[in-house]
Each structure stands twice: as structure tokens, then as C-alpha cells.
């Protein structure tokens, strides 16, 4: 190996020699300090390899013995280097392309916005740019989680804004708040769900409903104030024009709250006799080696249980960037499943159904709402099932701004 490398490093010249005194040619060469390698003789003459520096020294031997020497091939690094040196500009070009690609891949080249329905994309782009997220900047200069946090604060209509970078592309994903769709009522406060209004407080705007009124979802509660424009008003001719103080612009939006009662209800059905498949809690572990799509299990090649829930985990090594080591270790957890035969009494089934329905109804209630009353009703059952309905009465603010 080392000898091969030295051969490559020093460079070799393969030549053919023709003449009548080839043995003498070699002897004369040796006397001049030439070392011959892989010397072979055939009918056509002699073939041998010498180092580059030795080739010039063959001249005297060739002249003395009337031997004609012809180069057949040149091997080794000095020749490769010389060839590349002749193509300097090509090398420089490759280098420049490499550097350009490497540096471009470290920049943000495109930004896109998705998921926005009413917020204009341009507005999001502008805000992002103010926060430092724009094209043609280094990726390391922007703190993306910080940008997404700041964007959510700037757009009250957005429930969540995620900023995700994949390579040079940044995607701003927007999830907008779901609000009642009431066209033409921008700025007014509408009911978020059906309920009974009990407390109405108007800070700005005109109340449309009164306390004690039942409202439907999307019904206007407080109308936005109109902008009063007095077209006939003219400045007095003799009035001294004073420097105007900054006057707050009238905001054409209703302000206030409308608290009221809201009812929620859910039903749940639980059979008295039930066959259920559940995890028994017993787990068998096995591991193997994965190569491409092939898996060779080292331990526990087959599931020891007849009914099983498999959990497969791949452990792979990320060596460089997204290049993975082709061999992965796979670990499998076999979770035994068993069929459970359940027989419940009426009371048991009822309490299970009640729990289920209660958990369900609490998911629906607006966070922060006051729960006034909870009633559990057992519904008439048929065919060995228990039906339970949980009704919750809550007290909460119904007024929200609609989506236009």
C-alpha cells in the first residue's frame, strides 16, 4: 500500500525501448543511477517504468547503445497536477461554484405564508421583515422561534403562527382563530354561541340586544359606531391656524361585553355486556439490525403473543448533515393484547357513561367560563345499554369580533 502510494506520489513513466543492445542499455542506465521497475521483454522490445527524474538520465544510455525510447504512458500525481494546473480557470470555476453554493445554502432565499384566510400575506411579510426575517440574509442571524412569538402577538386574529425553515426556504404557517362568519359586520361584537344575555355593558357602539334576550350564534350584540363625517363643515376664515395636537383617530369598533348563560350537553352510551381488546401490560422486547428494507432480528424474531400491538423504533446514526449510516438498529416492543369480557351492573354502566359524557362536555366549554349547574339525566335505554346525558350551564362572555 505504502509502496503503491510512493509510486503514485513520485510519478512513473512507462516507456518502450527498441534496439539490438537492450541488456546493455539497462546496464548503462543502472550505471547512471536509474532504477528500472517492471521491466519486461517481448518480441517488440523492452518495456519498463522509471521515475520521472530518472527518465532524463536514460538519454546517455540510449545514445551509446543506439536504442530508441518512446514514452507509452505517464502515471502519478505530478502528471495529474500538471494537467490540472493547465486547467486553472476550470478549477477556479469549480471552487467558486462550490463556495457560492455553500454560502447560498446558508441564507434564506424564499419566504412563504400559508394558512391565512383573512390576514393579508403582505402584512405578514412586512411584519416579519421588521422582525428581521427577510430574504438574502444569513440563517443564523434570525431567531425563528422569537419571530413566531412576536408575530402571534402582532396578529390578534391568528391563533398560532409557526415559522419553519427547511433548507433555504422559510414557511410561515398561520392558523387563524375560528370566529363566527358575519359578513358586513366588521368591528361589531357578535355572539360566539347561542345563549341568554344577562349582563350587557357597552363601552363604545350601539347595543342591539337587551338583557334577558336569547341570542343565536353570530347575532350582532353591539353595533360598531359610525364615523361621523361633516362634509359641510368649513374652517372659519378668521381662525388662527394653530398647530394641531395629535388627535386620536376614532376607532370604528364596538367595545363592551355581553355575559350570559350558555348550555352545553353531551350524551354517552355504555353497553352492559362488552368484549373489549386491551393491552394486558405484558411486553416482550426484541432488537435487530435493519439494512435498507431488510430487517434481521437478533432477539425475539417472532411475537410471543397471539394478539399483539407492535411498537417499532429505529435508531439510526446521523453522520454528516442528512447522510445516515446505512445500517440501523431496530428495537421492537411487542405489547400483548387480550380480550376482556366485561359485565357491568346498571349502576356501574351509568357511572361509566356519566364520566365519559362529563369529560366530553368539559372539552366544549370555553376556558375560563363559570360553571353554574350540572345535571345528569339518565335517558330511556333499550337493548342492554345505558344512555346518560350531562348538561352544563355556564356563565361566560359571549361577545366576540366576527370574521368579515
Amino acid at each position: 500500500m505504502i509502496a503503491r502510494f510512493r509510486e503514485f506520489w513520485h510519478g512513473r513513466v512507462l516507456f518502450a525501448a527498441r534496439g539490438n543492445q537492450l541488456a546493455r542499455f539497462v546496464n548503462e542506465g543502472i550505471q547512471d543511477g536509474v532504477v528500472f521497475y517492471k521491466t519486461q521483454k517481448s518480441e517488440r522490445g523492452l518495456r519498463a517504468q522509471v521515475q520521472i527524474k530518472d527518465f532524463a538520465r536514460l538519454r546517455r544510455a540510449a545514445r551509446v547503445t543506439h536504442t530508441r525510447v518512446r514514452i507509452l504512458a505517464k502515471y502519478g500525481w505530478p502528471f495529474v497536477a500538471a494537467r490540472w494546473w493547465r486547467r486553472k480557470s476550470l478549477l477556479a470555476g469549480i471552487l467558486i461554484i462550490g463556495i457560492t453554493l455553500a454560502s447560498l445554502s446558508q441564507m434564506i432565499l424564499s419566504i412563504s405564508v400559508s394558512g391565512n384566510t383573512t390576514i393579508p400575506s403582505q402584512q405578514i411579510f412586512d411584519s416579519a421583515e421588521k422582525l428581521g426575517l427577510k430574504t438574502w440574509i444569513w440563517q443564523s442571524e434570525v431567531d425563528l422561534p422569537k419571530v413566531s412569538k412576536a408575530l402571534v402577538e402582532q396578529f390578534p386574529d391568528a391563533a398560532w403562527i409557526g415559522v419553519d425553515r427547511q433548507g433555504t426556504r422559510v414557511e410561515i404557517k398561520v392558523v387563524q382563530k375560528i370566529r363566527p362568519q358575519v359578513p358586513g359586520e366588521a368591528g361589531s361584537l357578535v355572539a360566539s354561541k347561542a345563549g341568554l344575555i344577562q349582563e350587557l355593558m357597552v363601552i363604545q357602539g350601539t347595543p342591539i340586544v337587551h338583557e334577558g334576550e336569547t341570542v343565536k350564534a353570530g347575532q350582532v350584540l353591539i353595533k360598531a359606531p359610525d364615523i361621523i363625517e361633516n362634509a359641510s363643515a368649513k374652517p372659519k376664515p378668521d381662525a388662527v391656524s394653530k398647530p394641531k395636537q395629535s388627535i386620536p383617530q376614532p376607532v370604528p369598533a364596538a367595545k363592551g361585553f355581553a355575559r350570559g348563560r350558555v348550555w352545553y350537553s353531551t350524551e354517552a352510551t355504555i353497553p352492559l355486556v362488552e368484549d373489549k381488546v386491551e393491552e394486558s401490560g405484558r411486553i416482550a422486547k426484541g432488537w435487530g439490525i435493519k439494512f435498507g428494507s431488510r430487517v434481521i432480528m437478533v432477539t425475539t424474531p417472532e411475537s410471543p403473543y397471539p394478539q399483539v400491538n407492535q411498537e417499532v423504533k429505529n435508531h439510526s446514526w446521523l453522520i454528516w448533515r442528512n447522510w445516515r449510516f446505512p445500517v440501523e438498529v431496530v428495537s421492537i416492543n411487542y405489547k400483548e393484547l387480550s380480550t376482556v369480557h366485561l359485565e357491568r351492573t346498571q349502576a356501574e354502566a351509568r357511572s361509566v357513561a356519566e364520566e365519559l359524557a362529563r369529560a366530553d362536555v368539559h372539552k366544549k366549554i370555553t376556558p375560563g367560563a363559570n360553571i353554574l349547574e350540572e345535571t345528569v339525566r339518565v335517558l330511556p335505554q333499550s337493548g342492554g345499554v345505558e344512555r346518560v346525558r350531562v348538561e352544563v350551564e355556564a356563565y361566560e362572555d359571549l361577545a366576540v369580533y366576527p370574521n368579515p
Binding site: A23, V26, N27, I30, Q31, G33, V35, F36, Y37, K38, T39, Q40, K41, S42, A48
Partner: protein, 94 residues
Amino acid sequence: MFDKLSKNVGEVLDFPPDVAGNGPRITITGRHEILVENYLEIVEFTEEEIHLNTTEGELSFTGKGFVLNAVLATELRIGGELISLTYPGGSETR
């Protein structure tokens, strides 16, 4: 004169002959590698035959597909299949 003296001194001091003398040293490893040290010159060589001049007279190898893997002033490495090694001059040497 010096050769004779060194030879005699070598004999007295029990030096091995390759240290004391300057005759060729031939190392044959298996059948495909031959190393000849202290040869004088190459007389003739083809793929089947190699004739070398040494202080002990002409040395010849016969075989198949001979290649001189390395040719240095005092050392010769031969590759190929060896059939025989002879001193064709017999005992006419010094």
C-alpha cells in the same frame, strides 16, 4: 589482493561468506520471487531466460514470464515462474 585478504580474515574470524565475500547472494522465495544481490551486470534477458554476470561466473535462470520488478545497481528483483537456476560455466570460475 584485498579480496584474498578479506576472505582469509573472514575465514579466521568465522564470518558468514555473504559478509566476507562479494559473491552474489540469491534469495528465492517460493517459486515466483527471486532476489539477486551483488551481481555485476545483465548479460541477456527475455521472458524465459535471464543471464547475469557475477563474480562467480555467469548465472542463468530459466522460467516463464520473467519480469524485472526492480533493477538497481546491486540488487535485482525478479518475478515470474522459476524452472531452474544454473551456473553454465561450471567450475571454470576462480
